[in-house]
Amino acid sequence: MLTDQQIFDATRRCIDMWNTLDLEATLDTYTDDVIYCDPKTGKRIIGKANLRRYLRKFFERWDMQFVVTEEYRLEGQDGQAVLWDCTIRRREGGPSRLVRGMDICMVRGNQLCRDEAYMETSVLQDLLALPPAALR
């Protein structure tokens, strides 16, 4: 079993990389056989290659800054629940919005082998609907 700190560090490293919008650095924090989903994936994404395709499009569209607000180890498992706030805006600029969410993350070694994120996405729809003038 991993220590609490090892689990929290693996998740924090992943979140830190999301904040950089560096696609390959972010993918490095996931195992090759990762299972990933969020409300926008529709179904589970299995494997790093498929996750790369999804995240490439996501990172091209959104600028995100996550802050971890709470983290809890799951009893008897190499996993955790992590609560976060995310300030998100379109990559072109414009206003930002705050989104709160929670992930369940499972860790193998120092990488995430499962990451499921739950949040409200209407904020993203609102930002996508902004007219070009609002993005300057």
Partner: protein, 143 residues
């Protein structure tokens, strides 16, 4: 510390209560000073009375049926996370569920004490329910 079975029992009672649509039964699972938040809340709700105001309309208008997919106790705490899938249908005027259906998945954090839920955070994407419940969802909870 509570036995894991007791935490699980309370969590299952919480979801079963929502399926009845009975406001009083739902409120009975919460402590008087419950702290509650879901993805439709601008701020955390504190106390059973304010929670009833938040949930009551939704429970009367929407029929929910849950499948609990996973439960995980949080290490060293009287808390658990529950992953679920919910089938939501608008209720007809006579209270029976209508035919329109939306499936959503979500995850709740539940903290319990003395047999009651003292903290709940419910994370889900309500955006896709807007078409089904155009007047009900905004500003109300929740699967």
């Amino acid at each position: 510390m509570l036995p894991t079975k007791e935490i699980s029992r309370i969590a299952q009672e919480r979801f079963a209560a929502y399926e009845t649509g009975e406001v009083a039964r739902v409120m009975a699972v919460y402590a008087d000073d419950v702290s509650y938040w879901d993805t439709t809340c601008a701020e955390r709700i504190r106390g059973r009375d304010d929670l009833q105001a938040h949930l009551g309309d939704f429970l009367r208008r929407v029929d929910v049926r849950y499948a609990l997919l996973e439960e995980h106790r949080l290490d060293g705490r009287d808390s658990a996370i529950v992953l679920w899938e919910c089938a939501a249908r608008p209720r007809l005027p006579d209270g029976r569920p209508g035919e329109q259906l939306q499936l959503r998945r979500g995850m709740n954090l539940l903290q319990v004490q003395d047999g009651l839920v003292t903290r709940e955070e419910s994370y889900m994407d309500m955006a896709s329910l807007d078409a089904l419940f155009p007047l009900q969802v905004k500003g109300h909870a929740t699967c």
